[in-house]
Structure formats: structure tokens, C-alpha cells
């Protein structure tokens, strides 16, 4: 069966809200999206946004410099809580990245046409979020310049291989595979659009650069045929990959014996949380971009509503997991597990637990109302709550479990220091800097895939031919 059959190129007549605004032709889609890169130029708003993001990014570099100068002692980690902000932020960022793969791969396999206009953007978000996530474990090594010890390589020590029986080593393979496969998937999707930009660009520099990266793509039908099959296969490979990555991240906890971590339901719980946080981040970014760039024809209210629905569903899965955590603690009949539950809800960090419940369980319940799901600014507000809530969730899981474990003589407390916060906030600047560059230099919506949504794009003869 030719792979091209897997794509459904026309708008289904039964969809209630359209996935693309009315009156668009092949040429108009092309013009509108490529103009954002080629004709709009560098606006004052972009410069201000980029400038702020870049300054925060510089703060991150400053914070890393001081860390490398002094050592990890500048962070709040101590003998009790050996993993603090670094793993909280690692899990938070990588979870955010997962929504991009979900949109680009899983929704493609499920024939969800509404994914088309947001997938490029969400995949870029994945890449940038994984770049931020990767920084934390590497810096936590203490001597990050030896990070290559984590990979198998021939060396004079005679130990060619790392310890493969450790979940942290699985993380190395999972995250590096995830980052590189996501990059390739994103780039393969970009090739036809880069060729479009090459052919539309007027300046010599733009022609050359886009021409170089488009690899000489010329839209040949025989090329498209192979292209579509590898694109579909990449989606099929990325789907279990994204699930495996967060499963392995949850193994970092579940394979240990710390109360509150040692639970078999961690993998699905973490995957649901990752998708939940990721969709919240896609909403946080897509709503302002759609508004600033006037993309309401392409990112329609249907997209927002569907993303709202996924946020609601995964939010409730996460809520179920919170309830099960309490139940497991009680049902285990293990005094350490029972103490952990008590300490989580009523211990010194109770306020964070309450904030977590408000952000992650109560806030998304507003999405049951269709009026709120279709209102961009309500969605934006709720997605902010979810992003904060998901960060608090990791804080509660990690810090509260570690600060009071088995022996009361070893109890202590933990709080992030100035350098923890500057690094964490700094990575947001890093993320936004990359995102601003992406918006300025690359088409944020896939032109060729949007064109496939028009009636007649399958090549079957029909009555009302789309005008060129």
C-alpha cells in the first residue's frame, strides 16, 4: 500500500468548526505563511521580545559561569536532597517537549487533520525544550566537561562502557535519541518549505541559505512518494519513542526505594503529566503568536478547543494519579509510605501541595465549559496555571519525598538558592530566544501540509476545481 494513502488531504465535510479559514487557495496559503518570514521583516515588537529573551538567556550563561567557577555547592542541594531544581527543571522541560511529538507523530497516525497548522511550531518547541532540559543533568554532574563519560567509547581506562543497569544511563540514551530523532523529524518536515522559501526569496543571502538547507528539493512526485513514507515511518517511530522517554524518566524515581517514588504506576502517570504540561505550553505560545501574526485562519478556534480538550483529559488523568498516590500510601500498610503521604499533605511543604491541587486539578475543570474552551484568553490563563502546577508537582514529588526519608536523624529541608532560580528562569530566556529566532527565520506553519487540506489536493477529478 503506498504511504500516500495514509494522509487525508481534504477537509472532512462533517467537522463542525473548520481547520482552515474560508476562501484560501494554494497560492494564498503559500503567500501568507512565507510572507511572515520573507516580507514582514524585523519588526520593533519582535526586536523588543527577542531583546528581553536574549537578556534572560545571558543571565543563564552568567549563572552557569558562576556555577562552573564555584561548583554545585552554590545550589540549594544538600546531603538530604541531592537532586533539587536540576531534576525538577529537567523533568518539567522534557515533559513540555512531549506535546510537540504528540502533535506531530501521534495525531498524524490518528488522522487528526487539525494538527497540521500547529505541528511545526510544536515540534520546534519540543527541540528547544529538550535543549533546556538537557542542560540540567549535565550541569548536575559537577564536572560537566566529563559528560562524555556517559557514552560508550574506547578509552585508555579500559572501561569502554558505562553502567547499563542504571536508569540514569537509560536516560542518557533515551534523551539523546529523542533529541536527535526529533531534530531529524522536524528537519525532514521543513525541507519542502525551505524549497518554497528558496524560490520566493528575493535577496541573494536568503536564496543561498534556504537553497543550501532545502538540499535542492524540487517537488518531484517520485521524491514525494519516498518522502511521505519516511515521514510516516518517523511518526510511527517517534510515537513509542516519546512514550519511552518519559517512562524512563519516571524509572529514575520508580526503580529506587524512596517512599513516594517506588510505585508501578509512575510511567503512565508521568506520561500523562508530560502531555498535560506540553499542551499547556503549546497554548501559552500559540495564542499570542496567532494574535500577533494574524493567523486566525490557520490556527482556528477548533485547534484551541481541541487542545483545551486534551488538556482537560490529561489533567484529569493526572488528578486521578494524585488520588491514587494517597490511596497507595495508605493501602501499602507501610509506615514510611504512610508517613510520606501525611508529610506531603500536612508537612512543612503543605502550601506547595495545596497550590499544586489548585493549579493542576481545579483550574482545568473550567475547560468543561465550551465557552471557555473557545475563548483564547481564558485558555491562556488556564494554561499558565497548568505550567506552574506541573513544576510544583515535580517539586513536591522530589523534595518532599527526599527531605524526610527513613531515619529522622537525617531529616532536613531544602530551598532553591539565587543561582538555582537564575538558572531556571535563564533557561526560559534560552527557550524564548530560540523561539523568536525560529519565528523570524522559518515558516511556523507547514505550507505543503496546509495546501493538502484544500479540496482537490488529492488529485481526484471534481466539480468545483480550486482556483490557483
Amino acid at each position: 500500500m503506498p504511504a500516500s494513502n495514509e494522509f487525508e488531504p481534504s477537509v472532512s465535510p462533517t467537522s463542525r468548526l473548520p481547520v482552515i479559514g474560508p476562501g484560501h487557495t494554494y497560492a494564498s496559503i503559500n503567500e501568507k505563511i512565507s510572507a511572515l518570514v520573507l516580507l514582514r521583516g524585523t519588526t520593533l515588537g519582535w526586536l523588543v521580545g527577542f531583546g528581553i529573551a536574549f537578556m534572560i538567556f545571558m543571565m543563564m550563561l552568567g549563572s552557569i559561569s558562576y556555577l562552573l567557577y564555584k561548583g554545585v555547592g552554590v545550589w540549594g542541594i544538600n546531603n538530604r536532597v541531592g537532586w533539587g531544581f536540576d531534576i525538577i527543571n529537567f523533568v518539567w522541560w522534557i515533559g513540555i517537549g512531549h506535546a510537540g511529538t504528540l502533535i506531530s507523530a501521534i495525531l498524524l497516525l490518528l488522522h487528526q487533520k487539525w494538527r497540521t497548522s500547529i505541528n511545526r511550531f510544536a515540534e520546534a518547541m519540543t527541540l528547544f525544550a529538550v535543549a533546556c532540559a538537557g542542560l540540567f543533568p549535565v550541569l548536575h554532574l559537577g564536572r560537566p566537561w566529563y559528560a562524555y563519560f556517559l557514552f560508550p567509547y574506547p578509552n585508555t581506562m579500559g572501561m569502554y562502557f558505562p553502567q547499563f543497569r542504571s536508569p540514569l544511563e537509560w536516560d542518557v540514551f533515551a534523551v539523546s535519541t529523542y533529541a536527535s530523532v526529533s531534530l531529524v523529524f522536524w528537519y525532514v518536515g521543513l525541507i519542502p518549505d525551505l524549497a518554497t522559501l528558496r524560490d520566493r526569496a528575493r535577496s541573494w543571502l536568503a536564496k543561498t541559505v534556504y537553497g543550501f538547507f532545502s538540499l535542492g528539493w524540487r517537488g518531484s512526485a517520485r521524491h514525494w512518494h519516498r518522502y511521505e513514507s519516511i515521514y510516516l515511518l518517523l511518526a510511527g517511530l517517534s510515537t513509542p519513542l516519546v512514550l519511552s522517554v518519559h517512562t524512563i524518566v519516571s524509572f529514575d524515581f520508580a526503580v529506587s526505594i524512596i517512599p513516594g517514588w517506588h510505585a508501578t504506576f509512575f510511567p503512565p502517570y508521568f506520561v500523562a503529566g508530560a502531555i498535560y504540561a506540553g499542551f499547556a505550553m503549546v497554548l501559552t505560545l500559540a495564542i499570542p503568536v496567532r494574535w500577533v501574526y494574524g493567523l486566525e485562519d490557520f490556527i482556528t478556534d477548533k485547534h484551541l478547543e481541541n487542545m483545551g480538550l486534551i488538556t482537560l483529559v490529561t489533567g484529569n488523568m493526572v488528578g486521578y494519579a494524585y488520588i491514587m498516590e494517597l490511596f497507595y500510601g495508605w493501602y501499602s500498610a507501610n509506615e514510611y509510605e504512610q508517613f510520606m503521604v501525611h508529610n506531603r499533605v500536612l508537612g512543612p511543604y503543605w502550601a506547595l501541595y495545596v497550590a499544586l491541587i489548585v493549579c493542576n486539578i481545579i483550574a482545568p475543570q473550567f475547560l468543561w465549559a465550551r465557552r471557555i474552551r473557545r475563548n483564547a484568553w481564558w485558555l491562556f490563563g488556564i494554561s499558565m496555571f497548568v505550567s506552574v502546577g506541573m513544576w510544583l508537582e515535580r517539586y513536591v514529588i522530589i523534595v518532599v519525598s527526599l527531605h524526610r526519608t527513613f531515619l529522622p536523624s537525617g531529616w532536613g529541608t531544602y530551598a532553591g538558592t539565587f543561582w538555582d532560580w537564575t538558572l531556571y528562569i535563564g533557561t526560559m530566556g534560552f527557550f524564548l530566544t530560540l523561539l523568536f529566532l525560529f519565528i523570524r527565520l522559518l515558516p511556523i506553519i507547514s505550507m505543503s501540509e496546509m495546501q493538502m487540506l484544500l479540496p482537490g489536493a488529492s488529485g481526484a477529478p471534481q466539480k468545483g476545481e480550486a482556483k490557483p
Binding site: 503506498p2 494522509f7 535542492g216 524540487r218 517537488g219 512526485a221 488529485g459 481526484a460 490557483p468
Partner: protein
Amino acid sequence: MKPSSRPRYYGVLAEFESPAALVAAARATHEAGYRKYDAYSPFPIEELADAMHDHKNPISKIVFFAGLTGACVGFGMQAYANLIHYPMNIAGRPLYAWPMFIPITFECTVAFAAFTGVLAMLALNGLPRPHHPLFDVPSFSQATQSRFFLCIESDDPKFDLEGVRKFLEGLKPMEIHDVENH
């Protein structure tokens, strides 16, 4: 490149307005007995592969065998490291702890399959190829935007310039261009 070693023309290019017109033209071209021809469009057209009888596609097989190789390499590397290269007794736990090898085996499978697949797609498509005779036709820049093209190439055994031009004119294209080799 010596101009004498290659034919003067790369082929004849016809420009169409819609995907349906291109599919009809490709079908007619195949039925007329031409085999060295290609269609160009800004997005993949579902019906074209059928019209051009373009069914051979080894990508999925390549990806499957690359994935299999990745799985063997991943698992083999871990088994070798733990059993032969550096057996480490950790509290009497078994050295051949195969369930612990599964996550990395899986990641290696995906990595091998994905990278080999993408490289195979580029290699089979003959990319990267920064220049191509078709790029000399000014309106061909529309092939990545909103027009649809069909090119009958000069290395087709049935190719003769006048005959091909006449044939393409019969398909009612918007325009016809001769594509020269440079």
C-alpha cells in the same frame, strides 16, 4: 562538464493549473508509453503514484532492517559489556540481567531506524543536489508554490523533441517549456 557528452535537452516541461489536471496528464503520458518522466508539485498528490505506476518503494524495508540491526547492536553491546568485557558483581545480582537491557535496546532500535531511513530517502532521491536543469526554467519556481508540472525527459527511448512537444500540447497545459542541459 563537456557539452558534447550530454544531449542538448533535458526534456520538455508542461505546466498545469490543478492537481487533477496533472494527474490526468501523468496518466496519459504513461499510457502513451513514456517511462522517463516525472511530475512536480508543491505538495504530495495522493493519486499521482497510481497514475505514474510508481509503486516501488524500498523505504519501509530499509527502515525495518536498520531497526533490527539497531536492536542487535544495542542488546549485544550491553550483554558484551556486562558478561565479557567488565563483569561486575553487585551484591550477587545476575550479570545477564536482560530486562535491564531493554530500554537501551529500544532506543538504539529507534535511532538506527530513523537515521538510516532519512539517509536512504535522501540517497534514493539523489539529494542533496543544489542544481538541476529544471531550475533554469523561470516559471519552475512555481513548482514549490502553487503550480503543477510534468516533464518528459530526453533519455526516454521514445523521446523526440517535436513529438513530445506535440504530445504535451494535446494535454492542454497552461504553458510548455524546453528544458536545456547546461
